[in-house]
């Protein structure tokens, strides 16, 4: 097999994942895109390992470690996402602005506290409202 095939597939998959990380707003979707990037790197490593016929199997063993690493990161990542959801009522990345530097940041941080409960129903209502208005 020509090495270009798996290598190009891996690179294209990586860039698709990169697009997802930059373009997606929902944090869980961003996590999915990161998984695509890691899977792409794994493909690269396996292909190179088989091509090099590495007697230490470095690429494939590293891929096994990467798969386990991806699982560990998704575990802790989702735990953090759930914590943010519970405290802030939203997982949309551009709504989480309490920590930004700048004149509005302190007010945003103050607002993050008491209006947590108000924000959550608003997010769901907004979703429902927009669903009914879009044909």
């Amino acid at each position: 097999m020509h090495l270009v095939h798996p290598a190009t597939l891996a690179v294209l998959l990586f860039c698709v994942g990169l697009y997802g990380v930059l373009a997606r707003r929902n944090t869980v979707l961003v996590l999915m895109s990161v998984e695509l990037m890691l899977a792409a790197v794994s493909l690269n490593l396996v292909a190179f390992d088989v091509w090099l016929a590495d007697e230490l199997h470095s690429g494939q063993v590293f891929t096994l470690f990467l798969i386990a690493l991806a699982a560990a990161e998704i575990g802790i990542g989702l735990a953090i996402v759930l914590l943010v959801y519970r405290r802030r009522g939203t997982v949309a990345l551009d709504r989480l602005r309490a920590l930004r530097d700048g004149p509005g940041a302190d007010e945003a941080a103050e607002a993050a506290g008491p209006t947590d409960a108000a924000a959550r129903p608003t997010a769901i209502d907004a979703a429902r409202g927009q669903e009914t208005t879009t044909p």
Binding site: M1, P6, R24, A53, A68, V81
Partner: protein, 194 residues
């Protein structure tokens, strides 16, 4: 750009192989690659959150088939077990617990879409050119399987013990960290009721 598609297409390796006369394995690889890429693109562009997760399943499953074609059988099955079996299941749970709507979600994509597209296309163009230029006349020899479980296991426990043990600490830390963060507290549920 001196490296283009033409030199790759025209290159002929030893034993007269060239990209333009693919073997059966290559044809299957390319077909599955189309499926994988298509599913991946749909995963990052779909506005239905659960559909995105299911497209991810297709993409990762397709990758497992690619691993089998590359004779890396152990990796293929680990990919199915862990990526499909646990990672995607976790993602689906995450979607469910953050009340992802059934049907299109309005907050799936941010306003950065055009910028993201430009960045991703530029990165893809650069990297594909690099890769195609580098591997113009390199073929993988698939006649002897290189990813058998016994060979991999032997290598893992003879040469790679230290990173293996580091990985065990990593997994334990991830486990404890995830559990301690997601322990629900009394005042979290009180806020929800208010």
């Amino acid at each position: 750009m001196s490296a283009g598609a033409l030199p790759v297409l025209a290159a002929v390796g030893e034993s007269g192989r060239s990209v333009l006369s693919p073997s059966g394995v290559e044809i299957v690889f390319l077909l599955v690659a189309v499926v994988v890429l298509g599913a991946a693109i749909l995963c990052v562009t779909s506005r239905h959150l659960v559909h995105a997760a299911l497209y991810l399943v297709v993409a990762l499953g397709g990758l497992a088939v690619e691993y089998l074609l590359l004779t890396a059988e152990f990796i293929a099955w680990v990919q199915v077990l862990i990526y499909l079996g646990s990672v995607v299941v976790l993602l689906l749970f995450g979607l469910m617990l953050t009340r992802a709507p059934i049907g299109p979600s309005p907050d799936a994509d941010s306003r950065n879409k055009p910028v993201a597209l430009v960045v991703a296309l530029a990165a893809a163009a650069t990297l594909v050119t690099l890769v195609v230029d580098a591997f113009r006349t390199t073929w993988i020899d698939l006649s002897t399987p290189h990813g058998r479980s016994d060979a991999l296991g032997e290598s893992l426990f003879r040469t790679w013990v230290l990173p293996f043990e580091a990985l065990s600490v990593l997994l334990l830390a991830a486990l404890v960290g995830a559990i301690v963060i997601s322990r629900a507290r009394r005042d979290d549920s009180e806020e929800g009721r208010r």
